[in-house]
């Protein structure tokens, strides 16, 4: 047994950290949040050059042929810097395409791998339950209805869409009858969309009773958990650094037990999450029978821990914590979005209970 990252995985982390520090420092993240779309393109180009866009795509199609664990390290690094990039949608599309026919794979995988094309994910209703009367039906080969909270759909070439019965469809964004409009969320570093289907040509990738969607959902949950892990780590690091610097009452505030304990509580709840997220990713790659349960817990548990870390880090900073000055709020909002996407913790834990037959 060896519960640790390999040498290559650590090198991957280091190179990501380097490239994100260059392409997505705080000023650039702030510029993106204020409307400079070029930032996301630059980040994506840098990630693509390093191979991140094709991380999960087989080498025969120009990808790196790596697993979800490497994808998790990437999502974590993006969360850590709050970098804008269509990594989640594109990675999940790559996974969904694994069950497509070879012609479709040949058409899309090389372009996704090179970073030339990106993909979005519209599965919210099928995974987390429909809000506001949304939902996508599939009859007579046509998709109709609306999907809300689609991830990375803005500017994408390809969409992965789940219909009401849980079948997955591949839809090109130029398809007739399709329209995509932005939703504004608290998190300006990522894009959410509403997608309207007015008789869009649909082609289910499979008819396997929802297995493909479950696998995709599990991977998405693990990647969202990783994003929260990264964002929370930054929130914790910044709080600790500030607690060592800021003085009140003639002392560094970290010397007050109240502040020290807040930092320690954040660390105590966050640090073990790293192992949970690694295990969830490894299980997705290698232990399919455990994967769903651990993925659910990773998503739900990181949602709770991150909410705690986000508020606590803000509190340790005092007044400056709620301003834009240190950029803390990017992480705060990122975990706020991750928590709700594809199901809040109560819903996801209910799923975990059902998986184990604890619910009739």
């Amino acid at each position: 047994m060896d519960f640790a990252l390999s040498e290559n995985q650590r090198l991957w982390q280091a190179s990501l950290a380097g490239l994100l520090n260059r392409s997505a420092p705080l000023e650039r993240v702030r510029a993106f949040a204020e409307g400079d779309a070029a930032v996301a393109r630059d980040v994506w180009r840098a990630l693509a050059e390093a191979g991140a866009s094709g991380l999960l795509i087989p080498e025969t199609y120009g990808g790196l042929g790596l697993g979800l664990l490497e994808a998790v390290l990437t999502a974590e690094a993006l969360g850590q810097t709050a970098a804008p990039a269509p990594f989640l949608g594109t990675s999940l599309a790559a996974l969904a395409l694994a069950s497509a026919d070879s012609q479709t794979q040949e058409r899309w995988l090389p372009r996704l791998a090179s970073g030339e094309a990106t993909a979005g994910l519209a599965v919210s209703e099928a995974v987390a339950g429909a809000r506001d009367g949304a939902g996508v039906s599939f009859t007579a080969r046509r998709l109709r209805g609306r999907s809300l909270f689609a991830i990375d759909a803005e500017g994408a070439d390809l969409l992965i869409v789940a219909d009401q019965t849980g079948r997955i469809h591949l839809v090109e964004t130029g398809a007739a009858g399709l329209s995509i409009s932005p939703l504004t969320s608290i998190d300006r570093t990522r894009n959410l969309s509403e997608i309207i289907f007015e008789g869009v040509d649909g082609r289910p990738l499979d008819d396997d009773g929802g297995t493909a969607l479950s696998r995709l959902r599990d991977a998405a949950w693990v990647l969202l958990a990783a994003d929260m892990l990264g964002a929370s780590q930054t929130l914790l690091d910044k709080a600790v650094a500030y607690a060592k610097e800021r003085r009140q009452f003639g002392r560094v505030i970290g010397s007050f037990q109240a502040v020290k304990h807040l930092c320690a509580e954040m660390a105590a709840s966050l640090e073990p999450c790293r192992a949970l997220v690694w295990y969830a990713a490894y299980a997705w790659d290698r232990i399919p029978q455990e994967s769903s349960l651990v993925a659910a817990h990773a998503k739900a548990h990181l949602s709770e821990v991150s909410r705690f870390v986000a508020r606590t880090s803000t509190e340790v900073h005092g007044g400056i914590g709620i301003t834009d000055l240190l950029g803390l709020h990017f992480g705060f909002k990122r975990v706020g979005l991750d928590r709700q996407l594809l199901g809040g913790p109560e819903r996801v834990r209910d799923h975990a209970a059902r998986l184990q037959g604890l619910v009739d």
């Binding site: 939703l183 009140q248 009452f249 007050f256 803000t314 005092g318 007044g319 709700q340």
Partner: protein
């Protein structure tokens, strides 16, 4: 203990509700003009439902304090949905401070227009180097003829960009021990030498500011309390701020809004309220809201009897602000993905107010004395625990 409604009180409650409903046309909505807001406030004061116990000569309604009446008025606003009386740092903090320690002249000059909403105040306490350790503040005022002349900087000053006046702490006696060298001044924000720079917060709006003072001249009669008495005066104000921030009526109104929201919203066709987990969270918070509401009534009685509120008062800011934050968190979770929408998004609920509160109310857990400072106060003043050891020299 006697909480029974006398026939007088029952009639009073009907009267208040009847009044509010019969003036529904005048209720200022979210997009009301300033004139409409002020007109409603004037209406409420003349009816005795705002500034109720403040003496008439200072612009209030002048009723004798009556705990049940106050409660019934507050409940009538919640029950009818009528917009409540104006609050804010002037009405909730400065007015009670002037009533306690202001000169007759100051009371007559400032309280009336403040109550009517004609003067907006901001609170200039915190400085970059002096937040929790407020008494270390370094903004200075020296005497020059009939004036004090102020130099220095404040930060996190809420609404300074909108305010007409500031109540401000300055160091007037640089050689005195730190708590004894502070004075409390009030002055116009239009005084030459004041520069206000807005600071954007995580909500995306600039709710507070940095304020810079360069040779700002303030007439000496605009000091509240004596020279070097500012710390004592400030603590009067802070006590009222903490009461305002922990206001249980606000929490109760929010709880009913969340209850309505959970009845309306559905996930996959199921009402959110039908989900036992979400319902349990709602009921848990309702328990806390009721607790704080009754604690508030108890405090009101104590203050009317002139008794010291003790622990029941010391916990209000900590518990009340945490409760508001938890309420916003529940609302967001009940809305799920809809709860992360913001600003002008389609499908937005309640104008994004829950997201705004979730962030802004975290600020209120920090502002007015952080949660950690509140806990220190509860432990040390409320429970008599010893203070933390002073740092070793060096």
């Amino acid at each position: 203990m006697d909480l029974a409604l006398s026939p007088h009180h029952a009639a009073f409650a009907r009267e208040v509700q009847g009044f509010l409903l019969s003036h529904r046309r005048e209720w200022p909505g979210p997009r009301a003009t300033r004139a409409q807001v002020l007109a409603w406030q004037a209406r409420l004061i003349s009816a005795g439902y705002a500034a109720r116990t403040i003496p008439r000569e200072y612009g209030g309604f002048g009723a004798a304090p009556d705990i049940l009446e106050s409660r019934l008025i507050a409940e009538s606003f919640i029950a009818t949905g009528a917009p409540g009386p104006l609050a804010g740092q002037g009405i909730s903090m400065l007015v009670p401070t002037l009533l306690e320690v202001g000169t007759e002249d100051q009371k007559r000059t400032w309280i009336g227009p403040t109550l009517r909403g004609e003067i907006i105040w901001c609170q200039g306490y915190s400085e970059p180097g002096s937040g929790s350790d407020l008494a270390s503040l370094t903004t200075r005022a020296h005497e020059d003829g009939d004036d004090f002349v102020i130099n220095g900087q404040k930060i996190w000053t809420s609404t300074a960009h909108l305010a007409d006046m500031m109540f401000c702490l300055v160091r007037t006696e640089p050689d005195a021990p730190k708590h004894d060298g502070i004075s409390y001044l009030i002055f116009s924000m239009a005084t030459p030498g004041i520069e206000v720079r807005p600071l954007r917060t995580m909500t995306g709006q600039a709710e507070f500011n940095e304020v810079f003072f360069t040779d700002v001249r303030v007439p000496k009669n605009q000091i509240v309390g004596g020279r070097g008495q500012g710390w004592r005066v400030a603590n009067t104000t802070l006590r009222h701020e903490r009461g305002m921030l922990g206001d249980p009526n606000a929490a109760e109104a929010r709880l009913s809004a969340i209850m309505a929201l959970m009845r309306e919203e559905t996930v996959g066709g199921q009402r959110v309220i039908d989900n036992p987990l979400m319902r349990e969270r709602l009921m848990r918070l309702q328990g806390e809201v009721l607790t704080m509401k009754f604690n508030g009534l108890r405090l009101l009685t104590q203050s009317l009897k002139g008794e010291s509120p003790g622990l029941a008062g010391l916990i209000v800011k900590l518990q009340g602000c945490e409760l508001n934050h938890q309420l916003a968190a529940l609302a967001i979770d009940a809305l799920g993905e809809l709860g992360v929408l913001y600003e002008d998004s389609t499908h937005l609920r309640a104008g994004g107010v829950w997201q705004h509160r979730y962030m802004f109310d975290l600020g209120l857990i920090i502002g007015g004395g952080t949660a950690q400072i509140q806990k220190n106060i509860i432990g040390e003043r409320g429970l008599g625990l010893p203070r933390e050891p002073r740092p070793l020299a060096g």
